[in-house]
Point group: C2
Chain length 120, copies 2
């Protein structure tokens, strides 16, 4: 069956959430949003391309920072309204320079930082 | 710093996406949605509790199927608008009886099933 990005289920803004996971270690790096064109661009270029909700523009991950995400595999979930991107992440995925955006744990009712920014 | 679920950033429906990941293997199992009360219930009971958008009701994962998710650790991302739930999943996470909802890969422009339903 040929894959058509238009067959995915987008919300009222035309977006769906995409989870980026390190293809090698399994670490969950970040969640961002894609529209059908971003899905198509990502599959075509293998450079992960999100839709920036704040800038209302395509966001080729790492285009300015150099911290690119190379697509290894794209997966779609059972409801076709969410993507899992297995990627090769160069450097930090988070804008705080941490490897992952999920660097804060909730433990016994308090927040605890699990990671420090990466040194380059 | 004491954690208050109300300090998270919810969308206009009062929801945020929560990614469930197998705490042991790192496998991404599913994505569903939570409101502030679902976050509080999950932290209190350690039974992962989502908000069902279709039923407009709390959804204690596995309450009817028995395929529960026990919370091992909750993490919040840098923007505070997404959660990562590290869980102990009993049986399949997906309603299709597959371990993960992300059982379909997009490969060379076509869809390929990566997993078959679990046999109990």
């Amino acid at each position: 069956m040929t894959f058509d990005p238009e067959t995915l289920v987008y919300d009222q803004r035309g977006l769906l959430p995409a989870i980026a996971q390190d293809a090698e270690t399994g670490e969950v790096l970040m969640l961002a949003w894609m529209n059908a064109e971003a899905v198509a661009k990502t599959l075509e270029t293998h450079r992960v391309t999100y839709w920036s909700r704040s800038r209302k523009a395509f966001w080729v991950k790492g285009e300015t920072s150099g911290h690119t995400q190379e697509l290894v595999e794209m997966r779609v979930d059972c409801d076709r309204d969410c993507l899992l991107l297995r990627v090769r992440q160069s450097g930090p995925a988070c804008h705080t320079n941490r490897r992952s955006c999920f660097y804060t744990a909730i433990e016994h009712g308090a927040e605890r930082e699990l990671m420090t920014p990466m040194v380059e």
